[in-house]
């Protein structure tokens, strides 16, 4: 009896930790939703492995962008410019290759350069001039969308061979499924998925095991005490934004590999998808709490809802937004309840 109590005690503590409890719910929710989909829509191909990989293929760009947003949100900031950075990156990539004849490799550098520049400028304004991050990144949002339209109002289709080879390179996996006609179709992913997963792992390591990662949590959790601990708060904030910018540039490029075109209207509202993914993944808007791993599940949940509703076939696709809003609401309330409990303790 005594032994049992002892072993259950640390477990309880773990589940009381707001951070990991939120994560648990997110992961559980994703598994429950996906399992439900597999049962209900088994005859509509939901149980196929490819359906699962499609979640990653479709959301590779969003995943990387959400990683950046997670870091910034943990540091106590916000970045709503990522959607238009994506549009700008797509446009610059398309324009540089199609109208200026640059190689695909230069386009990659350009994409990352745009992201880096965005991170530097926005990070400087937020960290050193102490301007509200919302306003700074709102300006970034307008600037990005505006510049995209200035470069070209027309849609530019990417025909660069190297680029298309990257975009269409299928990596076949050893698993697969049989089609109705009995043909074996191996599951596949694109290089974008590999890149996104590698970045995800890198960010998990950075946030968990490096000094920078832990400092970000400290700054976001309580700026005052972080400062007293001798942390250079400004520098850490700047670094967080630079990393976020880089990831936005990279995510934008992955997005472009998926759509193969540059266009003003692209990725509108992507920042909201990224923010909601981070929040559903357990990131607190007030900072200090959140994990890249949780954000992964936030993204997957968003993808699963879309899949479920498309598979269902008769529901309006606006239901995706409605379900997401309900989930967001649920998670925010949960966060606030947990926060209050913490304070009381």
């Amino acid at each position: 009896m005594v032994k049992q109590e002892k072993s259950s005690a640390p477990k309880k503590k773990l589940s009381l930790n707001g951070n990991s409890f939120l994560l648990l719910i997110t992961v559980g929710l994703f598994l429950a939703m996906y399992a439900a989909g597999m049962v209900i829509f088994a005859d509509k191909g939901f149980a196929k492995p490819q359906m699962f990989f499609n979640l990653f293929i479709t959301n590779a760009g969003l995943l990387v962008i959400s990683m950046g947003l997670t870091i910034v949100m943990i540091s106590g900031g916000i970045d709503i410019s990522v959607g238009s950075v994506t549009a700008l990156v797509c446009m610059v990539v398309a324009y540089s290759m199609e109208n200026m004849g640059m190689s695909a490799y230069v386009a990659v550098v350009l994409a990352l350069g745009i992201g880096l520049l965005y991170g530097l400028v926005q990070g400087f304004l937020v960290a050193y001039l102490e301007i509200q991050p919302f306003i700074v990144t709102l300006a970034g949002l307008f600037f990005g969308r505006g510049m995209t339209a200035v470069i070209s109002k027309e849609m530019i289709s990417i025909k660069n061979e190297t680029f298309l080879a990257w975009a269409n390179y299928k990596i076949y996996l050893p698993i697969g499924s049989y089609s109705k006609r009995g043909k074996f179709l191996p599951a596949y992913i694109y290089p974008t998925v590999v890149i996104a997963i590698v970045i995800l792992i890198l960010i998990i390591i950075i946030m968990k095991f490096t000094k920078f990662g832990r400092s970000v949590y400290a700054v976001g959790g309580n700026t005052q005490s972080a400062m007293m601990m001798g942390l250079n708060v400004r520098k850490i904030r700047l670094k967080a934004y630079i990393l976020d910018g880089l990831l936005a540039g990279c995510g934008g490029f992955l997005f472009c590999l998926n759509s193969c075109a540059g266009f003003v209207e692209q990725a509108k509202g992507l920042e909201m998808d990224a923010i909601s993914s981070a929040v559903i993944g357990g990131t607190l808007l007030s900072g200090g709490v959140g994990t890249p791993f949780g954000t992964l599940f936030g993204v997957l949940i968003k993808g699963t809802i879309t899949s479920l509703i498309t598979t269902q076939g008769t529901l309006s696709s606006w239901w995706v937004r409605i379900v997401l809003s309900v989930l967001l609401c649920f998670f925010i309330v949960l966060q606030s309840v947990l926060g209050n409990l913490k304070k009381k303790k």
Binding site: G28, A36, D43, A167, K180, A261, T306, S307, S317
Partner: protein, 361 residues
């Protein structure tokens, strides 16, 4: 004690999560049950046996035209007709359409119908569809892909022909009414849109052929407000305009407002003749009153034509790459009975109350 309360709370919330998860699931499962049942009944009814599954990736619901287009598809691909339609509204986002098509592929639909948001960026996902042996039919807009075999056919309006029809009608009408000199104000659509390109080409060719004057040419961006603004400035610059060629109904509405505001009259007995395209409900009503003298249709009812193509594919026939949709010409009065373009005769419909009432959109 506190801990107990906390853990109880957590348990409740967990259960709530589970319930919401299951709740969402069960409602859709009942829907799923419905389709299964009807599938069974379909088995009994139709001679072919199974329902043909069609995934339709629609642009959105941004205009009346688009809504009519969606409705036409839904009506045609009903279970009664032997189809199961999976409809996806992309909310004007290409990335949503790409996701939807990937989903259709995994569902192993028999055919994918795509009304693309944009003309480009389809190579990757259409290749996936091709690899899965699912034929893709594009409607309304063409897709610009490096390999033409990625889609089997395009169904849509022939915008150049629409332009030609309007111009031939104008020629015939001018001859009938003995109007010797035509001074045309040309309000274009959004530059670069396929409708604008085709309709502009039609007018410019006809103007060259018949010696008409295009006195002014400017874009009205397919909107009423811009159409009005452009017409106002054109009327100030030129006082000899007797024909306005608007590239859609909304522009025509704006132009007519501007003409009236300038103290001129429109219609068969007025100062200016207004030609328009699309023939939406409000447009055809104005054609009945003569305010729009001739309205060339841009037919949104793509469903039957697409179904025809699918039946051909089912029968193993080869398809033409481009399948234009039948489109009418609606005019005030019966001065012109038909127009002939490239040897084909197109009937002109005189707009009466009956025609207006029979119009669904």
């Amino acid at each position: 004690m506190k801990r107990k309360i906390v853990s109880a709370l957590l348990c409740v919330s967990m259960i709530a999560v589970m319930l919401t998860g299951c709740g969402g699931g069960s409602s859709s499962s009942s829907e799923g049950g419905d389709t299964e049942q009807s599938e069974e009944s379909g088995d009994g009814d139709s001679s072919d046996g199974e329902l043909i599954t069609v995934g339709f990736a629609q642009v959105g619901a941004e205009s009346d035209w688009r809504t009519a287009n969606s409705e036409s598809m839904k009506e045609t691909f009903s279970e009664a007709n032997g189809y199961e339609l999976i409809f996806d509204d992309a909310q004007q986002k290409q990335e949503n359409q790409i996701t939807a098509i990937r989903n259709f592929i995994q569902q192993e639909v028999d055919y994918i119908v795509l009304a693309p948001v944009t003309e480009t960026g389809w190579d990757t996902v259409l290749q996936e569809a091709k690899d899965a042996d699912i034929p893709v039919i594009t409607v309304d807009r063409m897709v610009d892909v490096s390999d033409d075999s990625l889609f089997v056919s395009y169904v849509g309006g022939n915008f150049k022909l629409e332009g030609d029809k309007a111009c031939e009608w104008l020629k015939a009408y001018a001859d009938a009414k003995n109007i010797s000199e035509l001074n045309i104000a040309h309000i274009q659509g959004t530059i670069g849109a396929s409708a604008q390109i085709g309709r502009t080409e039609g007018l410019e060719e006809a103007a060259k052929k018949y010696g008409w004057n295009i006195v002014a040419q400017q874009t009205g961006e397919f909107t009423q407000a811009k159409g009005q603004e452009v017409m106002e400035s054109m009327l100030k610059q030129h006082d000899n305009i007797n024909v306005v060629y608007c590239e859609n109904d909304n522009e025509a509405f704006g132009a007519i407002d501007a003409i009236k505001a300038a103290g001129k009259t429109v219609g068969p007995d007025g100062d200016i003749l207004v030609l328009s395209f699309d023939t939406v409900k409000a447009g055809i009503e104005m054609t009945m009153s003569g305010e729009i003298i001739c309205n060339t249709e841009c037919n949104p009812l793509h469903g039957p034509r697409v179904a025809e193509l699918i039946q051909k594919l089912e029968a193993g026939e080869e398809l033409e790459k481009i399948a234009y949709i039948d489109e009418g010409i609606f005019a005030y009065g019966s001065d012109v009975a038909s127009v002939t373009i490239d040897g084909t005769e197109y009937e002109v419909t005189e707009v009466t109350q009956e025609v207006v009432d029979g119009r669904k959109y």
